[in-house]
Amino acid sequence: MATVPVDTNKVERCRQLAQHVADDVQRFIDGHTTTGVERTVLRALGATGASEEGTPLVNVAVDRYHEAGLLDRGIAFYIGIVLVRGAKSVQEAAEELAFAKELVNVDSTPSPDAIAAALAPHVTKALARIDSAREEREALKREVTPGPNPLKYVIVATGNIYDDALQAKAAAHAGADIVAVIRATAQSLLDYVPHGPTTEGYGGTFATQENFRIIREATNDAARNHGRYILQTNYSSGLCMSEIAWMAAVERLDMLLNDAMYGILFRDINMCRTFVDQYVSRRLIGRSGIIINTGEDNYLTTADAVEKAHTVLASQFINEAFALRAGLREEQMGLGHAYEINPWLEDSFLYELAQAQLVRQIFERHPIKWMPPTKHKVGDIFFAHVHDALFSLVGITTNQSIELLGMFSEAVHNPMLMDRYLSLKATRYVYTAAKHLGDEIEFKPNGRIAQRAVNVLDEAVALLEQVARDGIWDSIAKGAFADVKRTRTGGKGYRGVIGKHERYMNPLLDALEGAP
C-alpha cells in the first residue's frame, strides 16, 4: 500500500502544541458570550417568527437587551424570569422581551433555582429535538446506506430554493452522494438568519430553516429512489454560525462547513466573536452527529500551495484541538485540504499526492475532505475537465473520505446541470478505473513524494511551535495563516461580544457541555 513516512513523535508534538493554542483561547471563550449565541439559546428554547418588518424575533429581543447593556446575564435569565412570572410559553416570553413597553424588572428577581426550574423543561425539549433528528438520520441510513468513499460532493446554487431542490435530485440521479446548497453572496456577514423559503439570491440561496427543510425533503426522496443515502450540507459560518448549527441540527442536515478560523481570515469577522461562536456551534454539532467540513482549502487560494502547504496541516491540528474541546468525535471532523498547486509546475501531481497521503495518514479516523482546483482553473473547460480528473485520481489513490467534485466551468459560472453531470461521470470513471491503485503501489522510501511529506510535516511543527509561543491572536495578526492579517478587536461583529457576568445563565450550553 502507498504510504509516506510519518514520524509519530512529530505528530504527537503537533497535537500538544495545538492543544496549548486551543487551551489559551478556551479561557477566553468560557468568559464570553455573543449576540449570536444568545439568539441561538432563544431559538432553542422555542422562540420563532419575525416582526412585521421581517426582523427575526430573536434578533429584536436580543438586540434590545444588548443595547440596554443587560446581555451579560444571558437571554435565558430574562426568559426564565418572565416564565416564573407567568408567561405561558417561551414564545410569549420572547415577545415580551422584544416588544413590551418596559424591560424586565430585575430588582426583585426570582431565585436562581426558580429560574432554572422554569427553563429546564424547554432545555430538555431542545435536546430532545436534536436527538430525535439524529435518530431519524440513523434510521434512514439503515434503510438506505451511503455510497462508498470518497463520497461525491456537489454544489447547487440557483438562488431559488425550489430550483435547488430540483437540481439536488438531478445530482443524486447522476451519482452524487452529498449535495450542498451554497449560500447567497455575503450571507455570512448578515447578523440575522432570514425567515421562511427564499426564491431570490445572488450567487446562491439563503440558508434559512425552511430552506433546509425543503432540501431535506428532496434529498430524502432521492435517497429512497436511488437506494443510496444522500447527505445534505450547508454553512455554519459567519455571524450566525451557532444559529445555523441549531437549525441544521434540528432539520437533520448531515454536514456543515464549520471552521474555527475561516470567518476571521476570509470574511474579516472579529476573532473574539468567531472563537466564541465556533465553540457553541460545535457543541450543538457534537450532539447532533453532524460532520463538520473545515476550510483549510481556502488558505491555498490566497497563499501559494507549494510554499504554504504546511499552514494547512498546522491549521488542521488547530481545528482538531478546538473541535475536541467542543465535544466532537474524530469521526465528525472533516478536515479540509485542496488540490491547488499550479498544474504546470513540474511534478505538481506528485506534491498533491504527497500532501493528500500525509493528511490521510495523520488523521486516519477523520472523514477528510478533499477540495478541487479552483485558483488555477481557466475558461478552457476542456483542459479544466482533465485537471479535475487528475484531482480525482489523487482522491481515490489516497482514499479521501469526502471529495468535492471539480467543475470544468469553475472559472465561468456557478455549476449548471450539465457541468455536474459530466463531472460526476468523469469522477465515476476515475474512481472505477483506479479503485485499488493505492493498495497496489508503494512510494519510494526516499523519493520525491516521501521527501515532500517529511518536509511539510517538519514545517508544520515549526509553525505550530511559533504559534504556541505567540498565541493564536498574535499569530493571526502576523499573517501566519493564508497570508491574511487580522487584529483582535478589528473585523465585523466585535460589538456583539460580551463578557459574561459572574451569574451568567445559559442552561442550554450547560446541558450540552454536560452531555456524554
Partner: protein
Amino acid sequence: MNPKQPIRAYGDRHGDGMIQLSFVLPIAPSPRAREAAKRFAEAHGLVDPLVATMEECAENYAFFVVYGSSKHSVDIGSIEVPEVSTASRTREEIEELIKKDIGRKLVVVGACTGSDAHTVGIDAILNYKGYAGDKGLESYKGFEAYNLGAQVENDQLAARARGLSADAILVSQVITQRNCHKDNSRALVDLIERQGWREQVLLLLGGPRIDHKLALELGFDAGFGPGTKPAEVASFIAERVRERTKARG
C-alpha cells in the same frame, strides 16, 4: 396536429437557454479576435455571449470557448420520429419464436458495402462473440448467418443473398463522407427492386449515423443506430418473418 411545445436549452433554470460553443477562428488572439468570436456567437443566436477563453492553438488560429443564452427553441410538439417497434426479447424467447412459429432456420446475409472497410458494426451483430455481452446471430440455432465482410459491391451482395434465398440482408455503413452511405444504400434497394424480389427480403441498415427514420427514407425496412444489440436485430427479423409467413398462409 400536436399543441406547440417549445423548449429551450437548460442551464440551471427553465428557459435560461444556456449553452457553450467551442470553435477556432483563423486569426491570432487579440482584442479584435475576441470581439469577432463574440459576434460569431451572436450570429449563432447567443445573447450576451461570454468569451470564456481565447488561446492561440496554432499560428494565426485562435481557439475559443464561449458561453451564452441561445435564443432558439424547438417545438417538440411538431416532431415525430419513427422508431423500430419490436418487442424486447431474450435470446431464448427468440429461439422459441423461430422454432415454434416459423419452423425453419432464417437466412441472414450481411456486409459492409461499397468502399466501407469498417466491419465493427456488422461483426457485432452477426459474429458469435456479439456485442456488450449479447451474442451475435451466428450463435443462434434459429439463424444461418453469412457475414460477407467489407467492401462488398451491391451486385455481389444481392446475388449472394438471392442465391441463398435470404430472409434478410443486413447492410452496415460506417463511412459517411459526402453522404456516400446514403447513395450506396439507396442503390442496393434500387437494384433489388429492378431485379424484382424486393418483397421477398427484409432490408436492414445499420451504422453510427443511421437511424430508423433515415433507413425508411432510403427504402429499407428498418434502421439501427449505435449501441444496437444483436438480440434487437434478431427479434425484429424473427417477428417480421413470422408476420409474412402468416400473411402468406
